[in-house]
Amino acid sequence: MFDILQYPFIQNAFAAGTCVAIIAAIMGYFLIVRGLTFAGHALPNIGFAGAAGAVLLGVDPVIGLLVFTISAAIAIGMLGKAMRERDIAVGIIMTFALGLGILFLSLYSGYAERVYSILFGQIVGISQQNVLFTAVSSLLTLVVLLILYRPLLFSSFDPEVAEARGVPVNALGLAFLVLVAITVSIAVQIVGALLFFTLLIGPAATTARIVQRPLWVILLAIILGICYTWSGIFFAANGTWPVSFYIATISFAVYLPIRLLSPLWIGQQARKNIATRQGTLSSGFQSGKDEQNDATKASGRVSGISR
């Protein structure tokens, strides 16, 4: 059963998958707190169209990937700050890109295998050179993410104050999206669009419901992402079903119970806090719900001045 680990292509899959899992978990966390998960889904698909165009023109697909994902990232970054407005923009851009992708494929007479592999991945079919390239680019991305860490976190949660404190909020948001675009372009060739998106959102969405600190969410998401990837490759190598299926399924199977059960412990924490507060402070603190009710009552009272 563990014999498969001797095969070089399996070792390559483990190595590259691990790199992608680490970067995806960190980026995924920021995409989630910035309300950009849909953009995270759209960029790999947009990249697919770029790759199809590159194949049609007879150039390296990675060039098409980079051109399409970076332009889309810039467009998404500039369009609408409100989440709903931005999601609409992302949807429009993505469907347009997919339309282009289908056109490119139909114009291309041969069988565009490299393009299809961008959608569904080929992690068990990569070379040592691919692994090295993935490792180096992941390391570079990691360094950039660590440099951006605090201001990116600050501007994700509190853009107004961050801007007032001198954080270049808009430029930072754009830089982050371009970084995502570059990572997408590199990663989808290795693991495919579906798998990349799974590793991007699944782990961070799950761990954000388990722990309460940004750093812990990210670290735990990295661990989860690596576990998913390793077990996915392991199952796939011993079975006949595709890697992407296993990883996506594991991710879903872990997320679902945690999503359903998390109100239990998140609610408990709140209750515990209120108990502590009532113990330490004399004046009447109430739970959030009571306060909302009181605020509604009070709004009748303030209608005096200036209205």
Binding site: V167, I266, N273, I305
Partner: protein, 258 residues
């Protein structure tokens, strides 16, 4: 430090325009160290815009703006700012302590490292705003009043000389409203920091404010509550008949519908 007699804020003939629309015109205001100023006025009159002007986030179309004797600029650590509060999502993976920590080093590059000094600084400020009890709680689980305390703590971490608070009393019930007003007054007096607090209601602030800056219909006026919240002054400001009525120890502005 602190001995300078420079005003904290000086506005001379300031005009703010968005495109062709004039938001405010001919604003003349001088605010001194340690003063508690309430900014009042109808919705959309430019109260928040005034704060953004001081933060250097927008530029005046005309006039002179000086903060501590210098033109406004972004990233000025002499200003603490708590923007209009939005309700934080219940499942945000962020603790009260983390929100406050942004005010200390959120704008710096890199990841930063946990240290005793950093923790102690944040603990002290949490104590100052009476938020120690819920320091470790997820912010999404806190009430509006508690979240407001955190935003004020965050704004105080750079030891500012000017504190800009945008609608900190919005959506609070009367008890929490009084608590926040008392907290801000305490901070204003003990730190000798000038406070500019945007509110839509003067009543909770009546006992504590030094002066009131009232903005309406592009015009503004500043003075003590007795000078500004009068039928004569407000009628002139609104350009229509406005009546200030005192009832049950509270002030009501009647006829100021906008």
């Amino acid at each position: 430090m602190g001995e300078r007699q420079d005003p904290i804020v000086e506005l001379e003939h300031v005009r703010i325009q968005f495109g062709k629309r004039t938001i405010l015109d001919d604003v003349n205001v001088t605010i001194n160290e340690g003063e508690f100023i309430a900014i009042l006025g109808p919705n959309g009159a430019g109260k928040s815009t005034l704060l953004k002007l001081l933060l250097g986030l927008i530029k005046p179309s005309a006039g002179i703006v000086r903060v501590l004797g210098r033109p406004p600029r972004r990233g000025n650590s002499d200003i603490g700012y708590a923007p209009q509060h939005r309700v934080l999502e219940a499942d945000l993976a962020l603790r009260a302590r983390d929100v406050v920590g942004f005010g200390l080093d959120g704008h710096r590059w890199g990841t930063g490292f946990p240290s005793h000094k950093r923790k102690a600084t944040i603990d002290t400020i949490l104590q100052e705003v009476d938020a120690s009890a819920f320091a470790e709680a997820p912010v999404g689980q806190l009430s509006g009043g508690e979240q407001q305390r955190l935003l004020i703590a965050q704004a105080l971490l750079s030891n500012p000389r000017l504190l800009l608070l945008d609608e900190p009393l919005a959506n609070l019930d009367i008890i929490h409203e009084q608590e926040i007003v008392a907290l801000v007054q305490g901070i204003c007096r003990s730190r000798n920091v000038a406070v500019m607090l945007v509110s839509h209601d003067i009543n909770p602030l009546l006992p504590v404010v030094d002066r009131v800056l009232y903005v309406a219909h592009g015009q503004s006026t500043i003075g003590t509550t007795d000078e500004v919240i009068t039928s004569a002054t407000l009628s002139k400001l609104y350009g229509s008949q406005v009546e200030v009525v005192q009832a049950l120890g509270r002030l009501f502005v009647v006829g100021a519908e906008t």
